[in-house]
């Protein structure tokens, strides 16, 4: 019963969250967005008191059901574990809790959170890891499938499906996601919930509450025949069948042990029982865990993102791909309030990246903000009517706002490189930046103030420029635009 309920709920949550990340049409978040907002770490960062209280109470009553139902990474590991179980039954063994590692991890994590070391936070946090995998590995496949359908739809003059750009938003993050998936899959396949009970800061934090939970899986010693099946089926490795003890700090209340027991010796009840013991073990799987963190960190410094995609048509002039300029101050979306707020709150879950319909958001490759979203305008600009990223952010890193507010928030301002500008150089009459600026912040003025006849160069009114990037995107100069947006540390209303 417990197992069945857990399975149904868990798979529902995993499916819902996966769809949320896959969807690029901006419709599903209206129905599934709440699932992201239920995530413990994100809710905490968003100061979402209601959700945090709800989760705490639920854990105090039911134990760590959060890890078996709400956490998509947990359920995903169960899927891998289940696949592993299919190849070899009764495969798990009991091991003692590696408390020193868990608490060290928790302390490091908390430290990183306070220090604003986003990279570390995102490498460790469960929902971030899931989002990374879903966005960088699964969404492209989903989009390719959609594009195939769009081709069919176009054939039948149907507008049900439309084609979208599939592009590598960031190679380092892609590699990290791949490694995360590989490490988690191997760990889960072999040993079940190793990550959850040694690395995961949310798991460790919940374990502090779960030991006192009202409902627990309890042994009925009189019925137990010491057959060891419960231990062999415990993916959390927390059942010591010989001692009839269960480590409730690690138990994720999956119910597998109850199902596996042929004698009805295990029950999920409120009964009275022994308190659990903790022991420390310095061996176990320490090596693989360390290497997971180490390799991830190393990979982050590896190759920079390359976006080269030739678009050649015979009768048409070639178009050189735009390149992202180096911005002295990075750009983060309206609603982020400031770079600091983004750094402190964002858990790098990639939901905004996967949702952005204009191809602007991509994970940062900067070491301190690795995987947190930054903006660039090679594929589009931050359109005035769109508030998608702020709608979906579960962590309060991008605060909700409406389209009108959004258009009056200054996230940066445009700067002109007159040396590149074809108008200033007299190569062509242009003024495309002026023509398309939604804020009316750009004016074409003579290069020589004393000569009306001289070439014209864009001048930016930095007071009303909001940094949307329309000028940068629509500048005909390639690969680097002659006008680009520099970010502001702190956003302000204008």
């Amino acid at each position: 019963m417990l197992k069945k309920t857990r399975k149904i709920l868990g798979i529902t949550c995993l499916a819902g969250l996966t769809l949320l990340f896959l969807d690029f049409t901006g419709t599903l978040h209206l129905y599934l967005g709440w699932m992201a907002k239920m995530q413990a770490l994100e809710a905490t960062l968003a100061l979402n008191v209601v959700v945090v209280a709800l989760l705490a109470v639920a854990t105090l009553i039911f134990g760590r059901i959060y890890c078996s139902v709400i956490c998509p990474l947990g359920v995903m590991q169960d899927v891998f574990g289940w696949l592993g179980k299919k190849s070899k039954k009764n495969r798990y063994t009991y091991s003692k809790a590696i408390s020193w590692l868990r608490y060290t991890m928790l302390v490091i994590f908390a430290g990183a959170l306070f220090a604003g070391a986003g990279t570390l936070v995102q490498l460790l946090a469960p929902y971030s890891a899931f989002g990374r995998i879903a966005t960088t590995l699964l969404q492209p496949l989903w989009m390719m499938g959609n594009n195939a359908l769009a081709v069919v739809a176009e054939h039948y003059e149907s507008y049900t499906f439309y084609s979208v750009d599939v592009w590598m938003r960031s190679l380092p993050v892609f590699i990290i996601a791949l490694l995360t998936l590989a490490v988690l899959a191997v760990l889960a396949w072999r040993n079940g919930r190793t990550y959850c009970n040694t690395v995961c800061p949310v798991g460790t934090a919940l374990s502090l509450l779960s030991r006192f939970s009202l409902l627990k899986v309890r042994f009925d010693k009189s019925k137990c025949r010491n057959c060891s099946l419960c231990t062999k089926n415990c993916k959390a490795a927390c059942i010591d069948f010989k001692a009839h003890e269960i480590d409730y700090s690690r138990c994720v209340v999956c119910g597998d042990c109850i199902d596996s027991c042929k004698f009805g010796a295990l029950k999920y009840t409120t009964g009275f029982n022994k308190t659990e013991k903790k022991k420390e073990d310095k061996e176990a799987n320490g090596l693989s865990r360390r290497s997971f963190l180490l390799t991830s960190a190393l990979m982050a410094t590896a190759a920079m993102a390359e976006e080269t995609e030739a678009l050649v048509d015979g009768g048409l002039a070639d178009i050189v791909e735009k390149k992202a300029p180096t911005r002295t101050t990075p750009l983060v979306p309206p609603g982020a309030l400031s770079l600091k707020n983004m750094a402190q709150r964002c858990t790098g879950c990639q939901l905004c990246v996967s949702e952005c319909p204009n191809g602007i958001l991509r994970p940062s490759t900067d070491m301190m903000h690795l995987m947190q979203p930054v903006m660039s305008f090679e594929r589009g600009f931050c359109r005035p009517e769109c508030t998608r990223c702020s709608d979906v952010c579960p962590a309060g890193a991008i605060k909700p706002l409406d389209a009108i507010e959004k258009s009056s928030i200054q996230i940066g301002h445009a700067v002109v490189a007159a040396d590149f500008c074809i108008s200033a150089l007299g190569e062509a009459e242009c003024g495309n930046c002026e023509r398309h600026c939604p804020a009316g912040a750009i004016e074409m003025v003579p290069v020589d103030p004393n000569n009306e006849e001289s070439n014209y160069v864009p001048a930016v009114n930095e007071e009303i420029c909001i940094g949307c990037g329309a000028c940068e995107h629509l500048c005909p100069v390639r690969p680097l635009s002659a006008i680009h947006v520099e970010g502001h540390e702190v956003h302000k209303m204008i």
């Binding site: 009768g315 589009g380 359109r383 009517e385 769109c386 242009c430 495309n432 398309h436 629509l474």
Partner: protein, 444 residues
């Protein structure tokens, strides 16, 4: 009821009917209408083959020579004998493809027309121009040219014309070539400034034009000027040629397909009169009806275009006055009421240095106007659906980077290149772009 009636009829007449249906849609041989050139006595087929829109291999920019040969053979077999090309058509490939196809036939069995093109001012010198002329002969694999034209005079006004053909002595040179017999007929094709047209005809005694190529169709007959004040009505142009007895070669009889991409209510009116005739047949009959027309050029990309045109012209059934009025007044008026952009997809404006796919943008825009689905009125119950579909279909028709918002209005397409229809391309692109931006923003 209808089904039953048809079945009974079929049963009554039996086998004979079936034999007849076998040939429906297949043009007859030996029925082509010919017009006589008053100077040379050439018997020219009323249908001329325009080599500007040659077939390409599927999903490729490469021209399909096998298909070109096949269509040319088929055309000749059905009595078509006039082929019109130019050094600039089909990215410069047209003359060669035409030459290869025609080389396989006796020289006397066809007339070939080509042009002294004027697109790149770098090629305006006497030397470069003579080279272009000689190169045409080489590419076409012929030692004389039946019809030679000054290409697209009128664009850029008298000044351009003088620089291109008079100051460098090219017109004198070509008249000399005509005397020598290497050019059998000398003429010009005209688009644009009417001053140049009038000047050339006023000096007809000096130049002796053997033919003139003009744009004539039921829309341009009386509405060319109303559509664009820089253009001239075909009725005037044709009238001026008639006064002097100069035969007219007709281009753009179908406006690059615009006269077959019609709104459904116009289609019904045409189909009600002639249910089994194609929409194109109306335009071709219209262009071929005036007696002073030597030949009507059609850029037939596909075999079905060729067959349909042959059906229309083998032989030509001239329109009566009522039918002409129906087309150039009633139908033309209805078309004038739509706000389409008069782009014929000739691609003279291309390539845009900034990569905009100009004709594709215009054709997409026109399609939505003609289908009456342009999301203009937010109160329309279909507005939201049309808005979404319009935006999606644009992305399908034109890649993002080639859409109108990337047009910087540098005017290269109308200053350096030129538009035979005198469309103010950057202005039109900008209008489309503005409307697009409004639609994109309106996602409430």
């Amino acid at each position: 009821m209808g089904m039953g009636a048809a079945a009974t009829l079929a049963a009554c007449t039996g086998k004979k009917r079936i034999e007849q249906t076998d040939n429906v849609g297949e043009p007859p041989t030996g029925q082509m209408t010919y017009r006589t050139n008053p100077t040379t006595g050439d018997k020219v087929s009323i249908l001329g083959y325009g080599m500007m829109r040659l077939p390409q291999k599927p999903d490729s920019e490469e021209f399909d020579q096998d298909m070109i040969n096949q269509q040319v053979d088929y055309a000749l077999a059905h009595g078509l004998n006039y082929f019109d090309t130019s050094p600039v058509y089909c990215q410069g490939q047209s003359e060669r493809c035409t030459g290869i196809a025609l080389k396989r036939h006796p020289r006397k069995s066809f007339f070939v027309a080509t042009k002294l093109s004027n697109f790149d001012p770098k090629l305006w010198s006497h030397k470069a121009s003579v080279e272009m002329y000689h190169n045409s002969m080489k590419e076409l694999q012929v030692d004389y040219i039946d019809y030679y034209l000054l290409h697209s005079v009128g664009g850029g006004g008298m000044q351009n014309f003088s620089q291109r053909y008079l100051d460098n002595g090219m017109l004198d040179f070509l008249m000399e070539e005509r005397r020598a017999g290497r050019i059998r007929n000398l003429g010009f094709s005209y688009h644009g400034d009417v001053e140049v047209f009038d000047y050339l005809l006023a000096n007809h005694d000096k130049y002796h034009w053997d033919f003139v190529q003009i744009q004539l169709n039921y829309l341009d007959w009386t509405y060319a000027n109303e559509m664009n004040d820089r253009n001239t009505d075909a009725s005037y142009l044709y009238g001026e040629l008639q006064k002097r007895g100069i035969p007219a070669v007709i281009m753009e009889p179908l406006l690059g397909g615009r006269l077959v991409k019609l709104p459904s209510y116009v289609v019904s009116q045409l189909k009600e009169r002639e249910p089994q005739k194609s929409l194109a047949s109306w335009a071709f009959r219209y262009a071929g009806t005036p007696k002073g027309v030597l030949t009507v050029l059609s850029g037939m990309t596909y075999m079905e275009h060729l067959k349909d045109n042959l059906l229309t012209y083998c032989p030509l059934q001239p329109l009566n006055e009522e039918e002409q009025h129906f087309l150039d007044t009633e139908i033309a008026q209805q078309m004038m009421e739509m706000d389409t952009i008069p782009c014929n997809d000739c691609k003279y404006c291309m390539p845009c240095p900034y990569g905009i796919d100009i004709p594709a943008n215009f054709l997409h825009y026109n399609k939505w106007i003609i289908d009456k689905k342009m999301p203009n009125d937010a109160g329309d119950p279909e507005y939201r659906k049309n808005r979404r579909n319009y935006l999606i279909s644009l992305d399908r028709a034109v890649p993002h980077d080639r859409q109108p918002d990337h047009c910087i209005m540098c005017n290269h397409c109308i200053d350096v290149k030129h538009c035979p229809q005198n469309i103010r391309i950057p202005v039109e692109l900008h209008k489309i772009s503005q409307r697009l931006e409004e639609l994109r923003r309106d996602n409430s």
